[in-house]
């Protein structure tokens, strides 16, 4: 599901924003910060040294292999390739040389055949209009490649080989297991790690400075924690918080609220009731959580974390997590949140009582 987070920010704004000048006369549109603070060059890409090294070599004139970027959302996969492409071609050539397709576009087998093929068949020169050298190939970026159907991927395979002289592909996905083997073997694979908290914090602070935001130290920490290594999510949350709290300080509470995360105090309270309380109290606690509108799936994932970290015996933990899996499935089938949570918590309670 997180694979789709990408589509939100990336695909569209890029199209109407364009590379530079010509669109400047449009009336000032509020650009999502995710776009605004996207790295402009490869050097700015945070935390992904291996890829950056390869791309830099290519910028210096070496050939570029077909690329396959994979990793959790918000780690800079799209940003990296976009930045590299911009550096390679410069703003003018960029439009001609780069084709970007993401899951929001229709991307059936037909599209792969027609659109990709026609684009790939254009031949290109090895120089830029401004006289600088540029690589004699085009780049096709297939964002969210893991949501492509297997037949579409298979169709891609042939195109990829045939056009290898003039075209480089960059496939981006969250789960490499969903890309068919023949494709992965044709690409050099790069794994994008979740961003370290420190790096994220740096970036966020930088944005806060530039946007003149009032913030607390804790809010940034909360942001980092809530986003779980997903920088895009963190920036989006930050922007939302800024919108909602104009001219006011952004607090960690606001961040937690926007993220829809259950405050850790409440999760703790719930666990305490499970460990020590009575069933009646548990009923009340769960009922209150649901009444406060917290999503059961969210409670579930946070409980999961707490249970893993708790000092229960391994056997108890495994029984509880197994129940969690069941509950998660039931929830996705549309079962009632209160009853499911109650059932889960009573399992935790039972295990806690026995140990």
């Amino acid at each position: 599901m997180q694979a789709f987070l990408k589509g939100a920010g990336v695909g569209k704004p890029l199209k109407d924003k364009g590379p530079a000048g010509p669109s400047a006369d449009k009336k000032p549109k509020t650009v999502p910060w995710v776009e605004k603070y996207r790295p402009k060059c490869v050097d700015e890409v945070a935390f992904q040294e291996e890829v950056v090294a390869v791309l830099k070599k290519s910028l210096e004139g070496a050939d570029l292999p077909n690329l396959l970027f994979y990793g959790p959302p918000g780690t800079g996969k799209t940003s990296t390739i976009l930045a590299a492409a911009r550096e390679l071609y410069g703003p003018e050539l960029y439009r001609q040389r780069v084709l970007e397709l993401n899951a929001s576009d229709e991307r059936g087998i037909q599209v792969v055949r027609e659109k990709v093929k026609t684009f790939a068949q254009l031949t290109v020169a090895g120089t830029r209009p401004d006289g600088k050298l540029c690589p004699p190939f085009k780049i096709i970026i297939l964002d969210e490649a893991d949501s492509m159907t297997a037949p579409a991927q298979a169709a891609l395979r042939r195109t990829m080989e045939k056009e290898s002289r003039t075209t480089r592909f960059c496939l981006i996905c969250n789960y490499i297991s969903r890309i068919i083997e023949p494709l992965t073997s044709r690409c050099s694979k790069f794994r994008f790690k979740p961003l370290a908290n420190r790096i994220q914090e740096e970036r966020l602070l930088e944005i806060c400075e530039k946007e003149n935001l009032k913030y607390t130290r804790e809010s940034i920490e909360a942001l980092v924690q809530v986003s779980e290594g997903d920088l895009r999510k963190a920036i989006t949350f930050l922007q939302c918080a800024a919108r909602l709290n104009m001219d006011k300080e952004i607090t960690d509470r606001a961040i937690v609220e926007i993220a829809g995360v259950v405050p850790s105090k409440m999760i703790e309270g719930l666990l305490q009731t499970c460990f020590k309380g009575t069933f009646e109290r548990l009923e009340v606690t769960v009922r209150n959580l649901v009444n406060d509108g917290y999503a059961a799936t969210q409670i579930l994932s946070q409980l999961h974390e707490s249970i893993i970290e708790s000092d229960l015996k391994d056997k108890d933990k495994s029984i509880i997590t197994e129940k969690m899996a069941v509950v998660s499935k039931c929830l996705s089938d549309g079962a009632d949140e209160y009853l499911q949570m109650l059932s889960l918590c009573s399992v935790i309670m039972q295990r806690a009582a026995q140990s």
Binding site: L5, I258, D292, A295, A296, D336, S346, M349
Partner: protein
């Protein structure tokens, strides 16, 4: 004369009675000009719709309160006609797409397309977009939700969506990530109390604080229910007395009696009677999952300790089946039978323990 719930519904963000901080935040959102798609979620009776209408008023002014009910007929690609009612003003359109059953995808796409493409006639309107409110988004099919994702992006320039849902659990990730999520919790018991008191004051009634407290507790923090209860109290007896009995709905009483019947005796004949009662509830428009939840609540209060946990498991198990299955009665009855069996065993064990 309208119901108190409608009569005293706040109409502007400033007048909202609780979650005031959130109200100011929403105000900010309107002012900053860059209005995102919203996902408003919270339990039933928390005031989501009220909040949304206030927000619209803030966006467009009093014009949004001129509502009309429109009847649309949409022809699906399969040539099937879908009839759907919408509530609209000049600036917005509200629709409950789940009314269209499994054709909800078509409804969403068609309606949003129509709204997004129709130009606003008045030049005076301060917004360049219209708003489409989709209620009960959690009941949309996955198909419709995925379609919504694309539609949202496509018409972003002329149209904003406000999605209204009881929980985000059933809303797919891509939609959640495209919206600014606004959580509306139920008001606290105290907040319900104060709303009740102020409404009664406006009606020129004197509501004893004890009664207010009693109502708000009985309502389970559901403000709509609390107001309806309060109004029913008024019909029942005025002047209010502090220890007045708060009228419950017939089906709740009926359900409690059903639960008592289950607890008092456990045999196939009793189950047959319970089944007849369940049928009775169903014919009175009570959805099966609500029957199940109500039954669980009553039964839980009738048993103790270890048994409760077991009942909770069973309830979760059969409620899940209720959602998946096609005929609710099987699962309701299986739950009842299961409860009877374990309750009977529990009582017998208890009796044996007493003997020794």
């Amino acid at each position: 004369m309208s119901l108190w719930v409608d009569k005293y519904r706040p109409t502007s963000l400033g007048k909202l009675d609780y979650h005031k901080e959130q109200a100011t935040q929403l105000k900010n959102l309107v002012q900053c000009g860059d209005f995102p798609h919203l996902l408003v979620y919270g339990p039933s009776g928390a005031g989501k719709k009220t909040r949304i209408m206030c927000l619209l008023r803030e966006l467009y002014g009093a014009g949004v309160e001129k509502l009309r009910i429109e009847h649309h007929t949409i022809v699906a690609p399969s040539k099937k006609k879908i009839e759907i009612n919408t509530i609209a003003s000049n600036y917005h359109l509200e629709v409950n797409p789940s009314d269209a059953g499994n054709q909800d995808r078509v409804v969403i796409q068609e309606l949003i397309k129509t709204v997004a493409q129709s130009q606003q006639i008045q030049s005076s309107t301060q917004r360049e977009f219209k708003v489409v409110i989709l209620t009960e988004v959690d009941r949309l099919t996955k198909d419709a939700q995925h379609a919504l994702r694309r539609t949202m992006e496509k018409y972003m320039s002329t149209c904003r969506l406000i999605l209204c849902s009881t929980s985000t659990s059933k809303v797919i990730g891509p939609i959640r990530s495209r919206c600014l999520a606004v959580r509306v919790p139920l008001p606290s018991t105290e907040e319900v109390c104060s709303v009740l008191t102020s409404v009664c004051k406006k009606e020129g009634l004197n509501l004893p604080p004890e009664l207010a407290k009693q109502i708000s507790e009985k309502s389970g923090r559901n403000l709509r229910k609390a107001l309806l209860m309060c109004e029913a109290c008024r019909v029942q007896q005025y002047p209010f007395s502090a220890d007045q009995e708060v009228p419950e709905t017939d089906w709740e009483v009926y359900l409690r009696e059903t639960a008592n019947a289950i607890v008092s005796q456990q045999n196939p004949q009793r189950l047959l009677e319970v089944r007849a009662r369940l049928y009775e509830l169903l014919t009175h428009c009570i959805p099966p999952e609500i029957i199940m939840k109500g039954l669980v609540k009553e039964l839980l209060s009738n048993c103790d300790g270890q048994l409760k946990a077991e009942v909770a498991h069973m309830a979760a198990y059969y409620e899940h089946r209720l959602q998946l299955g096609s005929k609710a009665i099987y699962h309701l009855e299986a739950f009842t039978a299961k409860f009877m069996a374990i309750y009977k065993k529990f009582m017998e064990d208890g009796l044996d323990a007493m003997m020794f």
